[in-house]
């Protein structure tokens, strides 16, 4: 008999409902999920090409084929490793179902190491396939501007600036606000009305980490400026540009801006420097405070204006840095556009200004990214730049890597079809 003389019906019922435990027993799903089918199929085509080339080279030597073979080597061996590991796992699965108890125990012992080797092999496969972004090792500039939505968009832009500052602090990235232009005179309704903010993250590798953030960020909330409690939808655009060290960048390698071949090279002859000059006699006759510097890159018609500091030299330096970054980005965009023509049809949505990439919903306390499809509930942590934001960004990075591979596949297909 029970020690308690009487138990209420509700408690009795509750104890009857077994706590649902979420556990995954020996299934292959989690492992298979580690690598996307697109990646795998691309890897297999490469492995096939590798096999045919090996056969071809066995009969006659060809320098270009040998070179190509070298390029394919790492992927091919990674595929082989992956196949070996997954077939071993399958074998083990069938052994697990056998009636022999001893055999089953032996197989159970082997499952974990095999799984691990699959994870390793797929990681290797991925790194061999996904091209490293050529600017991934660089520091970056994040430019944030309000989009549609007026005041509320400006407020949200301010929130985004704080979010990225928080993220940088958490991730241990060095950063500085290069430009922070607020609309003066907006009555203090909490937060800053940012017109334009440029955050410079000058730790190496920052571009690789943060380039997933480029795009239009949408916010859905009841603005501080709203009196009737209606939810508004506004947007702010985030632009992420690779940046360069100011001067003497010996470690910049090919990106040194004194090298004419580099993307960052800007010929000083192509740049018109406008400084505010007094129209009169100048010198002792006037006493001007204008320190604005405007650089115009004539070939591309890119204009950069800086007037943050009272020191004209400082403005000039900042303007040059910004101009170099913008031009490098443009050059890269041109190159990418050319490639994108090849990749057409792959659905690789480049995160341009036109399409929204993420929504921050205050009402539901939810952040969802429209690219990777991730949904995060912890809005406050995201806005503080905490782990939740890192989770979202990681998912986008994975998505981008997958898209790159998909577009590579499309590129290959495009090439073969055009050959025909």
């Amino acid at each position: 008999m029970s020690a308690t003389p009487w138990v209420c019906l509700r408690c009795l019922r509750r104890s009857a409902i077994r706590q649902r435990t979420i556990a995954r027993y020996q299934s292959t799903v989690s492992v298979a999920n580690n690598i996307s089918p697109a990646l795998l199929s691309r890897a297999r085509t490469i492995a096939e090409e590798h096999a045919t080339l090996t056969k071809q080279l066995a009969t006659e030597y060809d320098a270009t084929a040998a070179k190509r073979l070298g390029e394919l080597q790492s992927t091919s061996s990674a595929v082989k490793q992956y196949d070996k590991a997954s077939s071993a796992l399958e074998e083990l699965q069938s052994l697990l179902r056998s009636s022999d108890k001893e055999l089953r125990e032996l197989a159970e012992d082997d499952v974990e190491p095999t799984r691990e080797s699959i994870v390793n092999a797929s990681a290797e496969l991925r790194s061999s396939l996904v091209p490293v972004h050529p600017f991934a090792h660089l520091p970056c500039l994040i430019e944030i501007r309000p989009g549609a939505g007026g005041d509320e968009a400006a407020l949200f832009a301010g929130d985004l600036v704080r979010m990225y500052e928080g993220y940088c602090v958490q991730a241990g990235l060095r950063f500085a606000l290069l430009k922070y232009e607020t609309a003066e005179g907006m009555a203090g309704t909490g937060g800053a009305h940012v017109q334009e903010a440029i955050l410079e993250v000058d730790s190496p590798g920052a571009y690789g980490m943060l380039r997933s953030e480029a795009g239009v960020h949408r916010v859905q909330r009841v603005p501080a400026t709203e009196s009737k409690g209606r939810t508004h939808t506004s947007a702010a655009s985030v632009l992420v540009l690779p940046s360069i060290a100011p001067e003497g960048g010996a470690d910049m390698g090919e990106n040194s801006f004194n090298d004419p071949k580099s993307d960052y090279y800007v010929d000083p002859k192509d740049v018109n420097i406008d400084v505010m000059r007094a129209s009169g006699a100048g010198g002792q006759h006037v006493n001007r405070t204008e320190s604005a510097v405007r650089l115009t890159h004539t070939p591309t018609n890119t204009v950069v204006a800086m007037q943050e500091s009272r020191s004209q030299l400082e403005n000039r330096e900042k303007a040059w840095r910004l101009l170099r970054s913008r031009i490098a980005q443009q050059r890269r965009d041109v190159r990418e556009e050319e490639l994108a023509r090849l990749r057409r049809g792959a659905g690789a949505g480049k995160a341009g200004r036109e399409n929204k990439v993420r929504t921050y919903n205050w009402g539901q306390q939810r952040v969802s990214d429209h690219r990777s499809g991730i949904d995060v509930r912890n809005l406050d942590d995201v806005m503080a730049g905490g782990d939740a934001l890192e989770r979202v960004m990681a998912s986008v990075r994975a998505w981008m890597a997958e898209q790159e591979v998909l577009s590579l596949v499309a590129e290959d297909e495009g090439r073969t079809s055009s050959k025909r």
């Binding site: 609309a183 003066e184 005179g185 505010m276 000059r277 009169g280 006699a281 100048g282 010198g283 002792q284 006759h285 006037v286 006493n287 001007r288 405070t289 204008e290 320190s291 604005a292 007037q307 500091s309 009272r310 020191s311 004209q312 030299l313 400082e314």
Partner: protein, 366 residues
């Protein structure tokens, strides 16, 4: 030019202070910049005070600025090249054109004819130094170049005004404080900055009792014979009394010291060119001190040509150049002054006259 009323409405929508600043700044963007700098200054000045005190102080600053007071006097500082210098009423605010010429002079030292002409270890004299901006920037630029890291540099500034001398000394002390920290600075750099002196002297020698430049320099060095010097730089008062009334900006006329703008002793020249009074004296001092190079700022191209003509008449200067506002752009024109061909460098208004010569060379023949 009249400002459109709509501009004032536009300004008022942004900030209540902006319409006040518009008439002085003349356009919305620079009014916004100045307001931002002013409010940053208020924030720096009283971090812990209440919002109200902040607001009152800012309103006070804006009112002063709206009355035409130069922003640099309100903020108490101005950038001169890479250096941030103190500014105080009673002393001329350093101008960016002066910084451009000074930097260009130092740039020219390490190559071409000046490298052969001048010794490695330089003695530089700045007359009418004001805030001390020229010697300080010369020092900064000189030691920024790797060629000069081991050279010694003697810098002396001279001024008539005690207010200016005090400010210049404060600026030197401030630069010493700022430049002492990084260990990468050379020993010579610090030694030179510590040796920078600002002395009181009267270039025009208005009375028999006033201290002449040569005498002050002789006493400073503790010499018996006449002292010498390698480079003389000067940004003397060069505005004529009439131009002062008609062409100077209101904030300059009402707030900056007349002593630094208009030569106070204009008996030597006719009234039209009474802004030129300092240049004959500067040339005479250059001869007394056997200077090998001289850089003097002027108001415009006409005055530059007049000064160049004076120098041609002296017949002892081997090279005469006129530098424009931004002399480093690479543009070179030539013009004839008397019998000499004068090179005109750079873009903008005529800004300074630069002279050089070989020491001990015989006077140039006709």
């Amino acid at each position: 030019m009249r400002l459109r009323p709509s501009l004032f409405w536009q300004a008022r929508a942004l900030d209540s202070h902006l319409p006040l600043l518009l008439p002085v700044c003349r356009d919305l963007q620079s009014a916004r910049n100045e307001l931002r700098w002013l409010s940053q200054h208020v924030d720096d000045k009283c971090r812990t005070e209440s919002r109200e005190i902040h607001h009152n102080l800012l309103s006070n600053y804006v009112r002063r600025r709206a009355g035409g007071e130069p922003l640099q006097y309100i903020l108490g500082s101005e950038w001169f090249g890479d250096l941030k210098l103190y500014c105080r009423p009673g002393v001329l605010i350093p101008r960016p054109e002066t910084a451009a010429s000074t930097s260009y002079l130092v740039h020219r030292l390490s190559n071409g004819i000046l490298k052969n002409l001048l010794p490695r270890n330089l003695r530089v004299l700045d007359l009418c130094t004001g805030s001390g901006c020229i010697p300080l920037l010369f020092h900064h630029e000189f030691y920024s170049s790797p060629d000069h890291r081991m050279s010694t540099l003697e810098l002396i500034g001279m001024d008539l005004s005690n207010t200016a001398i005090r400010l210049a000394e404060d600026n030197v002390i401030n630069q010493l404080r700022l430049q002492q920290h990084p260990s990468s600075n050379g020993e010579e750099r610090l030694k030179s900055l510590r040796g920078l002196r600002v002395l009181r002297a009267d270039v025009m020698e208005t009375s028999p009792y006033s201290a002449s430049v040569t005498e002050v320099l002789r006493q400073h060095r503790g010499l018996k014979e006449t002292p010498t010097c390698d480079i003389i730089i000067s940004n003397p008062p060069y505005i004529s009394a009439k131009a002062f009334r008609t062409t100077t900006a209101r904030s300059v006329r009402h707030f900056e010291p007349r002593l630094a703008l208009v030569p106070h002793n204009s008996r030597h020249t006719d009234s039209e060119h009474d802004g030129d009074a300092f240049y004959p004296r500067l040339l005479a001092i250059a001869n007394e001190l056997e200077a090998k190079a001289m850089l003097a700022e002027v108001a415009d191209m006409e005055q530059a040509l007049r000064v160049a003509a004076l120098a041609v008449k002296e017949r002892c200067w081997e090279g005469i150049e006129i530098w424009r506002d931004d002399p480093a752009t690479g543009r070179v024109d030539t013009t004839d002054v008397g019998k000499m061909s004068v090179r005109v460098l750079g873009d903008g208004h005529g800004r300074s006259v630069f002279l050089y010569r070989r020491l001990g060379a015989a006077p140039l023949a006709d």
